[in-house]
Every structure is written in structure tokens, then in C-alpha cells.
Amino acid sequence: MFDVLVRSVPSRTSLRYLRSFNRVPSLVRDLSSVTAEDVTHFSKILSPSCVLSTFPPSSAPVEELANFNSDWMGKYKGASTTVLKPKNTQQVSEILKWCWERRIGVVPQGGNTGLVGGSVPVNDEVILSLRNMNNIRSFDPVSGILVTDAGCILESLTEFIAPHRHIMPLDLGAKGSCMIGGNVSTNAGGLRLLRYGSLHGSVLGLEVVLPDGTVMNQLSTLRKDNTGYDLKQLFIGAEGTLGVVTGVSILTAAAPEASNNVILVLRDFKDVLPLYQIVKQHLSEILSAFEFIDKGAYDLATKHGQGRALDDSDVEGAGCFVLVETSGGKREHDEEKLNELLESLLSADKPLITTGVLSQSPAQFSSLWALREGVTEAVSKEGKAYKYDISIPLSAFKDVVDATREHLRKKGLMRDDAVKHVIGYGHVGDGNLHLNVVAQTYSKEIESALEPFVYELVESYRGSISAEHGVGVMKTHALHYTKDAVSIEWMKKIKELFDERGIMNPGKVIV
């Protein structure tokens, strides 16, 4: 991946400069760089602690902006000189108004946990961090409707509504850092999508600041409202390219009275599909997650201490693992269904599973989940990851992982100093595989071996090159593998309509 570190850009960023990257943006207009005068102006709108810039009055050393300029994986690096952290929507509006006038690029940033480089600048755009907008505006425990600022961390929202016996409709490994505004802007999926659906369904309203500073308030707490085009759907998943999400109204779900999980050990991946069918039949409405990790992913997770490993004797001969979670209103009812399922699985003539572990306490429940949720972190500790988040038919999951590994082997790249592991894990229930290629370091050689190989492979299955991670800067050139030319053309028209000056998150999604 390109590793851009621009030390100082005193003059206007031009198209010619941006062409020196691999991607040639066609919609990027000439954008201005931030100057000292801009920062002086921002310092009038925001309190001193909300402006972090190498320019005065902040005059911070550039290292202090490092975390804002770099993504979570350390794969994408921007060169912003200025981070703004507004406290309310009015401030966001004034910032955007100024940036629209001055044609300064703006990168909205939440928890910066995205995996496609969408939350860091491509050059020296202003980073607009939503972290200070962390007020919970209201919560109705009867309807479960939560209205909050965009900068609230997902886990804090979960903790806030817990005493009212509600849970957020989404959950993901990054919950301790990701913010709800970012979740909405990326239409985050996660571990609960199977049960609670996508954000396109659970978000009831948005407050958005448009690129020119206009505030569009669609913060509704209405469950049903069919009065015209549903504009909020455009912003859900727009990855900050159409405007800045500042407020979210979301429908939370009643917390299950009983939760249980079990890890099932399978000898062969081909048993996952029939297992999924049986599990769905037996568990029916209490099934809340069905996750798959291959042996490689399990080994990495346990190697890096993510959750406690199963007994060696249980893991012998295992090809892959499935984590099943149930959530329901009555513990005895759920346990009865679960026990019936497990008994029938174990006593079948041709058992699909060799063994499994059923959690016996809340501590074990978390530990089993950690084995799945911790894979992402284990991968980042093991090396540098190329992540391909794809939607493909369930039957193809193993074939895609194997084909990728074989392809790399043929290119002589499967070695300790190049590609260490090729693993797969993901949301079987949603048809979403996370193919991870773990390398010693990022390198052009590995990247060109993987792309467009993986995208073409996905296209051959008529799948999606980005199931839930989004486009960011990583896949702007790859949309055509999944969307037709007409669709892409109309997406460009919508981008032009909202942001003809091209200041919102330039170089991302639609270029």
C-alpha cells in the first residue's frame, strides 16, 4: 500500500501531485491547504483544547497528530497539519462553512478504527474529529429509541442503556473505540446483524451538516415516517463523503434475558453449511450469531492470548470452529432448545461436529466470544494484514481462502519473511468472509499478487468486494467488480450534487 508522508505542503495541492499516487482521482477538484490564517479563524470558533495544529496558536509538534493521521492498521498515513474537535453541531457547521469557502478538504473522523483507510487524510486535509461530541441527547426506555451525538463510543452507549435492559442493535470488536457516527457513516455490520438487521433499518433519523455548512436536521424519533425521499439512507454508508453526521437517532433492542454461546468443533469446512441449516431449524428465533473461524484464525487468536483455548484433545483434527450465540427471553426455554440441538448433533449417525464447549458462566461466555472477536487483534499483532472483507456464497468460503493461499504459493510468497498466514473467518449467517493475508510487512509485491486476483475471484462468484468494511481509499478503483456502470455513474452524480467542490473526504469512495 502506498506509504505517503508529506512533510510540508506550502502551496496548493494540485491534481498533478495527486496523480503521483497509484489511483488517479477524477472527481477531485483543486483543494487548498490549511494555512495559519485558517487556524486562527478556527481558534475563534473553537476553544483552545479543541484545536490541535502545527500552526499557532496551537503550534504542536507534528508527532502529536500522528495518531490522527494514521489508521488503526498502520497501513494508511495522511499528512494533516490540523485536527479540529468541535463540541457541538453549530461549531461543525461553522467549520464546514469556512472550509467550503476556502475549498479545504475535510476528513470526518470518529474512532479511527476503519479498515479501508477512509478515516485518515490522503494528503493534508483538515481532520474533523467528532470525539468531543459525546452527549447522549435522550433515551426512551419504553420505545428503546436512543438519540445521541455522533461522537459517542459504542461501548459507552451500550453501558448507558444496559440498566434500562436494552442493547445496541450492533456489536463489533472495535466497540471500545468506535463511535456511533462512524458506525452509521460506514453502515457497520458486526456480530449482531444476523439478529437485529443492518443500520439501514435501525437508524430512525440523522442530523447531518452538509458540505457547505447547512444543517439538515432529520433527527426523528418516529418509527414510521413516509414523507418523501428517505435522505438519511444516503448518508448511512456514505463514509463521510456527502456530509458530516453529527447526531443519530437509533432504535435499540430489548436486552435478552438469557444469553448463551457454544463453540462447535468441525473436522471439515464442508460441514459448516449443513450445520448452519440444522442450527437455524432447531434454534429458530433465539439464534443471534453464527460465526466461523478456520483453524489458522483459531491458532492465531490463542497464540496471542485472545480468550482461553480449548483443550488440546478437543482441538485435534479440527478443520474449523463455529461460534453460535443464542439470546432469548427465558433461560430455561433457550437452554432446552440448545440442549436438544447439541444432543442431536452429537448423537447423529454422521456427526457434523467432533465436540464443542458450552459456556457455563458469564466469564466463559466472554472468553468464548473473545476467541472470535480477538482474531482481528491477534492478526495485527502477528504481522501486517491485507484484509478482504467479501460477500460470497457460503459454499465458497474455504475455496476462496485456499485459492488465495495457493496463488501466493505459486508466486513464491508463502514464506516467513513475506506472507506468513492466509486465514479466513467471518459472519457465516450473513455470507460475509474476512479473508486475511498476514504478511511480515506491507509490500508492493504482495499487493500486486493479491489485487486484482482477489477482486476477480470475488467477481467470479458475483459477490461483493466489500461486505461491511466499506470502500475508503482502498477500494475506490474496485467498485466495478460489484456495481454496474450505471450505478457508479449515478453515485458520482449524487456526490456532485451534494459536494460539487469535492471537500468532503476527498479521494474516498467515489472518485
Binding site: 480449548l310 447439541l342 465436540t355 464447549v357 457455563q360 458469564p362 466469564a363 466463559q364
Partner: protein
């Protein structure tokens, strides 16, 4: 006291069902106790005790004749017994108390366990009692020691390593003490209480969970044991500790006099 010939070991593991350690506990509105409508699980130290018993059997094989678990508690405690059976215990005893009964105290529990052990004499007796050093709800840490006293058995507490030396008919138990650890050489029968470092309890695997359903649980009442579990202590009131007040704005003091003045202001120093 016992000959040093090889003996078959009968292990008894008393366990307790407690509020799970991850739960945020709240005082109930009547201020008589904590809200018990929360998740419960096996006392972690007792889990370690069950694990240790199973490991001893894995090492000594058929020389361990039986591993029995026992609990004293309401009907729901039976689930905790099933978990222990799934981890490898052979059978269980449930001294059942009514749902509304107050929690028994260490002395009462120890007397009940003594009665259970006396009953077991006809079935081969009990040679080794392994139990948690304390329960995480009351943190009393007394039951093991009281039991040993009532039975007049040796006790090895806060065990971080248990080594059954059958050849010599003794058990070497390494226990944690303030200064480090000590090793006690104990004769059987013996009471051992477990500490955190002893082992890491296993997950119960599915086949074992299924098998556990068929293992026997014997139900008894305190009356069967001729034991009275009425508490001897009366809880007057339970309240949360006062909320911690912040230390005030973080300020550096420039010298000792300023520090003393500030301490006096805060009422922490009288003169």
C-alpha cells in the same frame, strides 16, 4: 495414623453457587442485602477445587475411587452441580434449602459438611476434601478451617500446588503465605483449600456435559443431616460505601508548608 500402603482416594469437593464475579452488584431497596436477580455461577475458587480433583484423578487414574461434589443451597444450585459433573465429578449431593432461606454461615456449612462426610462413611468414606479458600460473595474464608477443626483433620490452606505422594501416604501441599510459599507434608484424611494459582479450570466439553445429565444427584435436607442452618448473625443494614469525592483540582504544592496547610484544610491533619 494410616498405613502407607496404597489406598483408594475418595475426594469430596464442596462448591457454592455465588453471584458471578463480573456482575455489578447493587444494594436492594430494603437495604437488607444485594440484588440477587443477577447472573450466578460457581465460586471461582471452587471451580479450581473441582479442576484439581479431576487432575488428581488424571494423574492417579483408578486409584481415585470417587469424586463427589456437594453444595448447600436453593434449588437453582443444582445447575452448579451439573457444571461440576460436566468437568469430571462422578456424583453430587444437593443439600437443598428453600428459595427464601437466608444464606448459611461458615459454621453451619462446616457442620453440614461434617454430617455429609459422616454419612459417606458407609459408602467408603472421604479421604480428601478440596474446597475453595473463600466464596466471593461473603469472602469469609472460614469454612475449610472450621471443617478441619470439627473433623480433627489436618488442613492445608491457600494451596498453590497439591502433590499426592501415594508411595509415602502423604500429600505435599504448597501454600501461599505472606513471605512466599511453604510446603506442608500432610497425612490423610486432609482438608485442602485452593488458591488462585493452583490451576486453570477447564471448559466443560459437550460430550461431558451430555454425560453429566445422567450422573446422579442425591437430594438431602438439613433435617436429614440433623443440622440447623439458621444464621447466628443478624444483618442490620447494608449500604454502599460513600461515593469517593474527588481530590479537588490537581494542583502542585510548591513546598512542605503549603502541603501541610492543604492537609489541615482537608481535615486530615489536626496540628
Amino acid at each position: 495414623m494410616y498405613p502407607s500402603t496404597v489406598r483408594l482416594l475418595n475426594i469430596l469437593v464442596p462448591i457454592k453457587r455465588c453471584v458471578d464475579y463480573a456482575v455489578k452488584i447493587r444494594v436492594n431497596p430494603q437495604q437488607t442485602g444485594i440484588d440477587l436477580n443477577v447472573k450466578h455461577s460457581m465460586n471461582p475458587f471452587d471451580e479450581i477445587a473441582v479442576e484439581e480433583a479431576v487432575r488428581i484423578r488424571e494423574r492417579m487414574k483408578e486409584k481415585v475411587s470417587s469424586i463427589k461434589v456437594v453444595t448447600i443451597g436453593p434449588p437453582k444450585s443444582a445447575e452448579t452441580l451439573r457444571t461440576a459433573l460436566a468437568m469430571g465429578a462422578d456424583s453430587a449431593i444437593h443439600v437443598e434449602l428453600p428459595e427464601s432461606a437466608p444464606s448459611p454461615e461458615p459454621l453451619g456449612v462446616a457442620k453440614a459438611l461434617q454430617a455429609v462426610i459422616a454419612r459417606e462413611k458407609e459408602k467408603g468414606g472421604v479421604d480428601l476434601v478440596i474446597m475453595g479458600k473463600q466464596a466471593i460473595d461473603d469472602d469469609a474464608g472460614q469454612t475449610g478451617q472450621i471443617l478441619a477443626g470439627l473433623l480433627d483433620w489436618p488442613q492445608a490452606t491457600f494451596a498453590s500446588k497439591v502433590d499426592v505422594d501415594e508411595a509415602n501416604g502423604v500429600v505435599n501441599v504448597a501454600g501461599e503465605i505472606d513471605g512466599g510459599s511453604q510446603v506442608l507434608k500432610c497425612k490423610l484424611p486432609l482438608v485442602v483449600t485452593t488458591d488462585l494459582r493452583l490451576n486453570e479450570p477447564r471448559y466443560a466439553s459437550l460430550p461431558n456435559i451430555m454425560k453429566a445429565k445422567k450422573k446422579p444427584i442425591e437430594k438431602l435436607s438439613p433435617a436429614d443431616l440433623r443440622v440447623d442452618l439458621t444464621p447466628r448473625l443478624e444483618t442490620l443494614k447494608i449500604t454502599e460505601p460513600p461515593k469517593r469525592v474527588g481530590g479537588g483540582k490537581a494542583r502542585c504544592v510548591s513546598n512542605v508548608d503549603e502541603l501541610i496547610a492543604k492537609l489541615k484544610d482537608a481535615g486530615l491533619v489536626t496540628s
